[in-house]
């Protein structure tokens, strides 16, 4: 193992990584649990915001599951991400109710304004643009969320204003 072992793996800040200890403990607790892989992946996703490859190696060792199988499972589910995400995740609802009320236009506008493809993160790491399913707020369609905040009854013209709130 490299000396990166206990260092933060999401950047080069060199800080010791307490998260890894927590993850290792979680892996250990799930060693003998049937179907334990997915709960472990959820925990890592929650802790890091994505699934860092070197953390997955610990999973492979700890649960005794080959890396290929872990990748197979991780890539099957949309919820897991193998790439780090931006500081703010913009989730534009593309559920049917939102779609018929013009969600595609909103999504396209974000993509243009941020110069980023759907599902990707801006170069400065500030925004990730995602399309999601029904958020359960169809009454306010079209809808998007940024973090916990929900924005409803959107028009394309709202997009720059919303971005400004987070650009400061």
């Amino acid at each position: 193992m490299s000396n990166m072992e206990n260092k933060c793996c999401c950047c080069n800040c060199g800080q010791p990584d307490e998260r890894l200890e927590k993850v290792k403990k979680f892996i250990n607790d799930h060693k003998d649990v049937k179907g334990g892989l997915i709960p472990v992946l959820h925990f890592i996703q929650e802790t890091y915001g994505y699934l860092p490859e070197d953390v997955l190696e610990h999973v492979s060792d700890g649960l005794n599951i080959p890396m290929t199988e872990i990748f197979g499972v991780a890539s099957f589910y949309h919820f897991f991400s193998l790439e780090p995400k931006g500081e703010h995740i913009i989730r534009v609802c593309m559920g049917t109710a939102c779609y018929v009320k013009g969600a595609q236009g909103i999504l396209d506008k974000f993509a243009r304004e941020l110069n980023v493809e759907v599902g990707k993160t801006t170069e400065d790491g500030k925004f990730t643009l995602e399309a999601t399913r029904c958020l359960g707020a169809c009454g306010l369609a079209p809808v998007l969320t940024i973090g916990e905040k929900v924005y409803g009854r959107l028009t394309v013209d709202d997009v720059p204003r919303i971005l400004d709130e987070y650009r400061k």
Binding site: G35, F76, K101, T132
Partner: protein, 597 residues
């Protein structure tokens, strides 16, 4: 316990929270404290009332007054006027949009008049985070009755007699499924609640779990007793944080009260419930895929038989039901199978929850008896089409369903009639579309969804759907031919016939049903290279309106292909050959002189 003289029920569903209901709750609490009434008036955050369109909703009980679109400012006035002086604030009540008549009570409102709430009975009435409130509305009585007075066979018989069918889409008789699982021999069996809610336009399962989680826990325990299982799992989407939080609270409370765990109510019956998180794969809503996912692998479906009732989770007999199915169980056992089967149609008993959305005036969750017509739902509950536009179609059944045109609006809806008209009940999404929606584009929307969600195992589904999508793309880009339309029909049939699971077997439905009912629209795209609804951008043409154009030349300057010509202060024109339909001219024109059609 303190006795309150009045309850303020504030909707804390996702829709109302997005409209600011948390601030409203804060204001109510602050104002009530200021007046020193905190021991008399209780503020309760409830689950969804369904009427998301007019949120945040506040209901005052026992006065039974229903305020809509409440803001913190309005909350201050409601406290001053209604709560202190006992005067209803008429300005904030719901007004009948046509007659402008002020309606005081919930059940006078057209949105609620024809509703019959069984699965949603407690949503909006109780605090979902407080087990006492559930118990106060007969909660856990059905479990008590079952464990002390009824044999498993008798319960199953009652559920069978009620005629309850699965609300997750398939409509399989619930009692029969329980009986099958009961008869499978094994020491270990499981109960699973399917809360994966995959239909991209539906949110009833989430509302039930957010508004009344105990009703599902209680029904799962009853199911466990009937089939002989002591362990249950709820498979829930990780994207539903509020529902997960409320379920966790409810499970902990149920354990504390001895309503889950060992020796429930002293009867010797044991039952545990755990949560399992889905991770955003639509196919995991399919029961065999769901089981593979709980086991920790890729959520791919497997061939049935064996059915989960025979060989399910970890190869043991497993009973899987949908959230809404479970939510119907306790009322049936308390009020009786005869009561339940008196509601609905001959073959579809009880009610169904629909997520009514799209171009209707009242968007929200509605629960209605089976057999109501689409017209009643859309025009009475839904208040008709938004902005006086013309109704075009209603989509039911999500990506497995189809589009139903105006001529079928008077069909009484149940599982079987919807299938007969080329659609499906599905999980209850109901999206209303008007003249501005393009049917080819809607079909494409659903097919894109199915392509993305296909697990890729069956060639017909993987390759076939991708090919169908390619064709639809060509059609909407103006490159379609009549042969393409034949190919779509043929491929659709092949995919339906040769796919292993329900996803592939139904994924061509949105395309086939729109081709069936809106053939002319497909032909217009293919032959006339025209999108009648004005949606498919590649088929649109830009025109300058002579009576509005002042000849400012702004459009000509921004046009990247120099397609616009004309002299200063004279009407300009667009050369259709050169136009690349970028829309820059339309965005620039300050006189609304450019249209697209």
């Amino acid at each position: 316990m303190v006795k309150y003289r009045m309850d303020l029920l504030v909707c804390g569903g996702t829709g109302c929270q997005a409209s600011g209901s948390s601030e409203v709750v804060e204001t109510f609490k602050k104002e009530i404290e200021k007046e020193g009434l905190e021991n008399e008036i209780q503020v309760i955050t409830t689950g969804c009332f369904g009427f998301c369109e007019k949120g945040p909703i506040v209901k005052i009980s026992p006065d039974n007054v229903f305020y809509v679109e409440v803001t913190p400012e309005k909350a201050v006035r409601i406290v001053k006027e209604h709560i202190i002086k006992g005067r209803v604030v008429e300005d904030y009540l719901y007004k009948e949009p046509e007659t402008k008549e002020v309606l005081h009570e919930q059940n006078e409102m057209p949105f609620y008049k024809k509703q019959l709430r069984i699965a949603l009975r407690n949503c909006g009435f109780i605090d979902p985070e407080n087990i006492y409130e559930y118990i106060a509305v007969d909660g856990y009585q059905a479990l008590g009755k079952v464990l002390t007075e009824m044999t498993p066979e008798k319960v199953i018989e009652e559920i069978k007699r009620s005629g309850l069918r699965g609300r997750g889409g398939g409509g399989f008789p619930t009692g029969v499924k329980w009986e099958m699982t009961r008869k499978s021999k094994s020491n270990q069996k499981y109960v699973i609640c399917n809360a994966d809610e995959g239909d991209p336009g539906a949110f009833m399962d989430r509302s039930i779990l957010e508004g009344d989680p105990h009703s599902v826990l209680e029904a799962m325990a009853i199911c466990g007793y009937c089939i002989g299982a002591d362990k249950g799992y709820i498979y829930i989407r990780a994207e539903y944080p509020l529902a997960i939080q409320r379920l966790r609270i409810a499970i902990n409370q149920a354990y504390e009260f001895g309503l889950l765990g060992k020796n429930i109510l002293g009867t010797g019956f044991n039952f545990d419930i755990d949560l399992k998180y889905g991770a955003g794969a639509f196919i995991c809503g399919e029961e065999t895929a769901l089981i593979n996912s709980i086991e920790g692998g890729r959520g791919e479906p497997t061939v049935k038989p064996p059915f989960p009732a025979q060989k399910g989770l970890w190869k043991q007999p497993t009973n899987i039901n949908n959230v809404e199915t479970f939510a119907n169980i306790c009322p049936i056992l308390l009020k009786g199978a005869d009561w339940f089967s008196s509601i609905g149609t001959e073959k579809s008993k009880g009610t169904k929850v629909f997520a009514l959305a799209g171009k209707v005036n009242n968007v929200g969750l509605v629960e209605v008896p089976m057999g109501l017509t689409l017209r009643e739902i859309i025009y009475e509950l839904g208040g008709g089409i938004k902005g006086d536009k013309k109704f075009k179609a209603v989509q039911t059944g999500g990506p497995s369903g189809g589009c139903i045109p105006a001529q079928n609006l008077d069909t009484p809806i149940d599982y079987d009639t919807l299938t007969q008209i080329g659609s499906m009940m599905g999980s209850g999404g109901m999206i209303v579309m008007d003249e501005d929606d393009c049917m080819v584009n809607i079909a494409k929307f659903y097919l894109e969804f199915s392509c993305e969600e296909s697990c890729g195992r069956c060639t017909a589904c993987r390759v076939g759907n991708t090919r169908m999508l390619e064709i639809l793309n060509e059609i909407t880009e103006g490159k379609g031919t009549m042969e393409h339309l034949d190919e779509l029909k043929e491929l659709g049939q092949i995919i339906k016939d040769s796919s292993l699971c329900g996803l592939g077997q139904t994924s061509p439905n949105p395309v086939l049903s729109t081709m069936n009912f809106f053939w002319d629209e497909y032909v217009a795209h293919v032959k006339d290279k025209n999108c009648p609804a004005g949606v498919c951008t590649a088929l649109l043409k830009y025109f300058i309106l002579p009576d509005k154009c002042v000849g400012c030349t702004a459009c000509a300057k921004v046009c990247p292909t120099n397609a616009i010509s004309g002299e200063v202060r004279k009407t300009h024109i667009i050369d259709q050959e050169k136009c690349i339909k970028c829309g820059a001219c339309m965005a620039t024109c300050r006189f609304n002189a450019i249209t697209r059609r």
